[in-house]
C-alpha cells in the first residue's frame, strides 16, 4: 500500500495530485526550487523539500535530487505529473532501482513511445494506422527523394526525438526537400542531441484528437473516450473539449480500440494518451503516445465522473481496474481553457509578474485548477500557464454559453493574460458550430487580435468616476492618518461620511 507520495512537479498539477492523494489518506511531499518557496504546493503538502536553484535543469530535472528527497522523507512512491521528468526513461528506471514506486508506465514503454520512429514501427506492427511515411532515418538525398515520391507532396520532415514544433519542416515540392531535411537534422541535433529525421505525408485540415487510456498490471486496458485538442497556438493546445464535434459513435469505438491496441503493444500500465491526426474524411493516423497524465485530463473527469489521479495511484498500487469499457459513457459536454500569463498581441510572449487580484469564477459546472493567489509573483523560470478553467454542461451549446460566462467572471489583474483572447474564440462562428481544425487560430488571428469592440461612452464615464475616486482616496491616504484602521474599505466609509462639497 502506498503511504506517502512525493510529487516531482510544481504548479497546478502538484496541487491537483495532492488533493486526490489526501482524499485517499496518503501523505504528500512537495519538492521545490529556490524560486518556488512561496508557491502554493509547498505549503499545501504535508512535507516539503528544496531540491535546488531556480532553473529547472538545476532542480526539477535533477534525478539525484528528487531521489534524495524521497529518501529523506521516506516517500514510497513518486508522481511525476506532466513535463519535467514525467517521460524520462532514466528516472523511471532509477525509481525502480531505488525501490520507489514510479506512478506511470514501465521504463520500456516510455522508451518505445519516446522515440518517434520506434513508435511508428511498433504501431505498424500492432495494426494501428500511422501517417504514410518512412520508417528509417534519412541518410542520403537519393533515398529521401525516392521515399518522398512514393508518399506524395506536400510532406512533413520530422525529428524522431522531436516535440513542441522543433525539428519540423513542411515541404511542398521536390526541389526544396533535401535542403529541408538538412535544416531539420541540424535543428534536431542542437535541440535534442539526435539528428534522426523521417518523412510523413502532410495531412490537410488535420484535427488533433486523442484518446485517454487506463491499463492495470493484469493486462486490462480500457479507453476513456476522446478529447478534441485542435485549438492550438505555437503548437500548444489552449482549448480542449470532449466529446469532439467531429466524432461519431462508430468512429469512437474504432479509434478507441486502436488506442487500446497501441497501449497493449507496449504493455502499457497506468494512465496514458494516444494522440491521432484525423482528416476531414475521418481517416485517422497515430501521431504519438504521451506516457503520462495530460494537462487536459480534467475534461475527461468531468464527463465520466472518474478521478484519473486516483485511478493512477490505485493501478500503481497493484489494484485491478474497477471500470469496464461498457460503463464508460460520456455525459454532457466539457471544455477546458488554459489561462496563461502571456501577451496575446505580442506573439503570445509570456508575461510574468506579480498577480494583484484574482476573482475566480464559480457556480454550477465550474472547476478551476490553479496555483496562484493574490500577491503571488509568477516566476520567469517555468511555464506561463497559471490556471485551467474547466466547465461541464448538459450539451455543447450550453457548455459554450457556460464557458463564456465564466471567462467573463474570471478576473486576473497585475499581469497580462489570454482571457480576452479566449473570450473572443467563444464568439467565432467556426468554433460555435464545431467546424475547426488545427489551423483555427491562424485562420482567425486577425479577428482574435482586433481590439475589443468600442466601449460605450457611459461605461467609459463610469470607469473615469471609479478612477477619480480611487485617486482622491489615495491622496487622502497619504495624509497623516487620523484613524488606526487601515482597511481600505473603512477608509472609504470614513471618506464617505464627510458630507458636502469637496474641491480639488
Amino acid at each position: 500500500m502506498i503511504k506517502k507520495i512525493l510529487i516531482a512537479n510544481r504548479g497546478e498539477i502538484a496541487m491537483r495530485i495532492i488533493r486526490s492523494a489526501r482524499e485517499m489518506g496518503i501523505k504528500t511531499v512537495a519538492v521545490f526550487s529556490e524560486a518556488d518557496r512561496t508557491s502554493k504546493h509547498v505549503s499545501f503538502a504535508d512535507e516539503a523539500v528544496c531540491i535546488g536553484p531556480a532553473p529547472s535543469k538545476e532542480s526539477y530535472l535533477v534525478i539525484d535530487n528528487v531521489i534524495d528527497a524521497c529518501k529523506q522523507t521516506k516517500a514510497d512512491a513518486v508522481h511525476p505529473g506532466y513535463g519535467f521528468l514525467s517521460e524520462n526513461e532514466t528516472f523511471a528506471k532509477r525509481c525502480k532501482q531505488e525501490k520507489i514506486i514510479f506512478i506511470g508506465p514501465k521504463p520500456d514503454a516510455i522508451k518505445k513511445m519516446g522515440d518517434k520512429i520506434t513508435a511508428r514501427k511498433t504501431m505498424i506492427e500492432a495494426g494501428v494506422p500511422v501517417v504514410p511515411g518512412t520508417k528509417e532515418n534519412l541518410t542520403t538525398r537519393k533515398k529521401a527523394e525516392e521515399a518522398a515520391k512514393k508518399i506524395g507532396y506536400p510532406i512533413m520532415v520530422k525529428a524522431s526525438s522531436g516535440g513542441g514544433g522543433k525539428g519540423m519542416r513542411l515541404v511542398n515540392s521536390h526541389k526544396n526537400l533535401w535542403e529541408a531535411v538538412k535544416a531539420a537534422k541540424s535543428e534536431a541535433l542542437s535541440s535534442f542531441g539526435d539528428d534522426t529525421v523521417y518523412l510523413e505525408k502532410y495531412i490537410k485540415s488535420p484535427h488533433h484528437i486523442e484518446f485517454q487510456i487506463l491499463a492495470d498490471k493484469f493486462g486490462n486496458t480500457i479507453h476513456l473516450c476522446e478529447r478534441e485538442c485542435s485549438i492550438q497556438r505555437r503548437h500548444q493546445k489552449i482549448i480542449e473539449e470532449t466529446p469532439s464535434p467531429l466524432m461519431t459513435p462508430e468512429l469512437r469505438d474504432e479509434m478507441g480500440q486502436a488506442a487500446i491496441n497501441a497501449a497493449k503493444s507496449v504493455k502499457y500500465v497506468g494512465a496514458g494518451t494516444v494522440e491521432f491526426l484525423v482528416d476531414n474524411k475521418l481517416n485517422y493516423y497515430f501521431l504519438e503516445m504521451n506516457t503520462r497524465l495530460q494537462v487536459e485530463h480534467p475534461i475527461t473527469e468531468k464527463v465520466l465522473g472518474i478521478d484519473l489521479v486516483k485511478e493512477q495511484i490505485k493501478i500503481a498500487d497493484g489494484k485491478k481496474l474497477t471500470h469496464k469499457q461498457s460503463n464508460i459513457v460520456q455525459r454532457g459536454h466539457a471544455i477546458e481553457c488554459r489561462i496563461c500569463a502571456e501577451d496575446t498581441h505580442n506573439n503570445f510572449m509570456p508575461s510574468p509578474g506579480v498577480i494583484k487580484h484574482i476573482t475566480e469564477p464559480k457556480g454550477i459546472g465550474v472547476r478551476v485548477d490553479s496555483y496562484v493567489y493574490d500577491g503571488y509573483e509568477i516566476p520567469v523560470h517555468y511555464d506561463s500557464m497559471i490556471s485551467k478553467l474547466i466547465i461541464r454542461a448538459a450539451n455543447r451549446k450550453y457548455a459554450i454559453e457556460r464557458m463564456k460566462r465564466v471567462l467573463y467572471e474570471y478576473r486576473i489583474s497585475g499581469v497580462k493574460t489570454n482571457l480576452g483572447f479566449l473570450q473572443k474564440i467563444m464568439d467565432i462562428k467556426d468554433f460555435v458550430s464545431g467546424k475547426y481544425d488545427t489551423h483555427f487560430i491562424e485562420k482567425h488571428l486577425n479577428t482574435l487580435l482586433k481590439t475589443t469592440r468600442a466601449t460605450k461612452v457611459l461605461t467609459e464615464d463610469m470607469a473615469i468616476i471609479a478612477a477619480y475616486f480611487d485617486y482622491i482616496i489615495n491622496l487622502e491616504e497619504n495624509k497623516p492618518k487620523t484613524s488606526g484602521d487601515t482597511r481600505a474599505i473603512n477608509r472609504w466609509k470614513e471618506f464617505g461620511k464627510r458630507k458636502g462639497v469637496l474641491r480639488i
Binding site: 470607469a463 468616476i465 477619480y468 489615495n474 469637496l502
Partner: protein
C-alpha cells in the same frame, strides 16, 4: 476646479459637484451623473447609475499612481489622471520620442541569453542587439535606426527585471 482624465485617446474634463455618503454628483464633459459608488474589496468598486450596476476593478500602475487599468465585465480601459505637472511631462516625453529609440529594454523579467554587439559598435537598422529568454521563449531585440552602442548595462547570463534598461543607444 475640473481635472483632466484621459481614457484611451479620449480626454475628459471631470468635476466633482457634490458628495453625500455613497451618493455623488459628478460632471464629465457636459454630462452630470448622480452615482451611488461603493468600494467592495480593495480596488474593486461598485457603481450604480440609473439602476445599472457596474463592477469595476482598478489596477494602479506600479510606477505611477495616476495611471490605472480599469476592467469592466467586458473590457479593460487605460485611464490616466492628468494634472498640470503631468501635462508638461507628457509634452516633453512626446518630443523625446520623436528623436527615436534611445535604449533597449524588455517588457518582462528574464535571462540574457546573448549580446551579439559590443560597446562602441556601429549598427544597422534591424540588427539584433540582445536576446532575452523568459518562460522557455526567446525574444530578439533589434534597433530601428542606424546608431551606435553607447553602453551595455548587463552581461550574458544575467537575470533582468521587467522594463530594465539593457542597452543604451546614441
Amino acid at each position: 476646479m475640473a481635472i483632466e482624465i484621459h481614457i484611451g485617446d479620449r480626454i475628459a474634463n471631470v468635476e466633482l459637484l457634490n458628495i453625500d455618503g455613497n451618493k455623488v454628483q459628478i460632471e464629465i464633459d457636459d454630462r452630470v451623473y448622480d452615482v451611488d459608488i461603493s468600494m467592495i474589496e480593495h480596488g474593486v468598486y461598485s457603481l450604480i447609475y440609473q439602476n445599472k450596476s457596474y463592477n469595476l476593478e482598478l489596477v494602479k500602475s506600479p510606477d505611477d499612481s495616476k495611471k490605472y487599468e480599469v476592467s469592466t465585465l467586458y473590457s479593460t480601459l487605460p485611464v490616466e489622471i492628468v494634472d498640470v505637472h503631468r501635462k508638461y511631462m507628457k509634452n516633453r516625453q512626446k518630443d523625446e520620442l520623436d528623436d527615436g529609440q534611445e535604449k533597449i529594454s524588455t517588457p518582462m523579467p528574464g535571462k540574457v541569453i546573448k549580446i551579439p554587439v559590443k560597446k562602441g559598435e556601429k549598427i544597422e537598422p534591424g540588427q539584433t542587439v540582445i536576446i532575452v529568454e523568459a518562460m522557455k521563449m526567446q525574444s530578439e531585440y533589434k534597433v530601428k535606426r542606424e546608431c551606435k552602442i553607447k553602453d551595455i548595462l548587463v552581461n550574458e547570463g544575467d537575470t533582468v527585471e521587467g522594463n530594465q534598461t539593457l542597452v543604451v543607444l546614441e
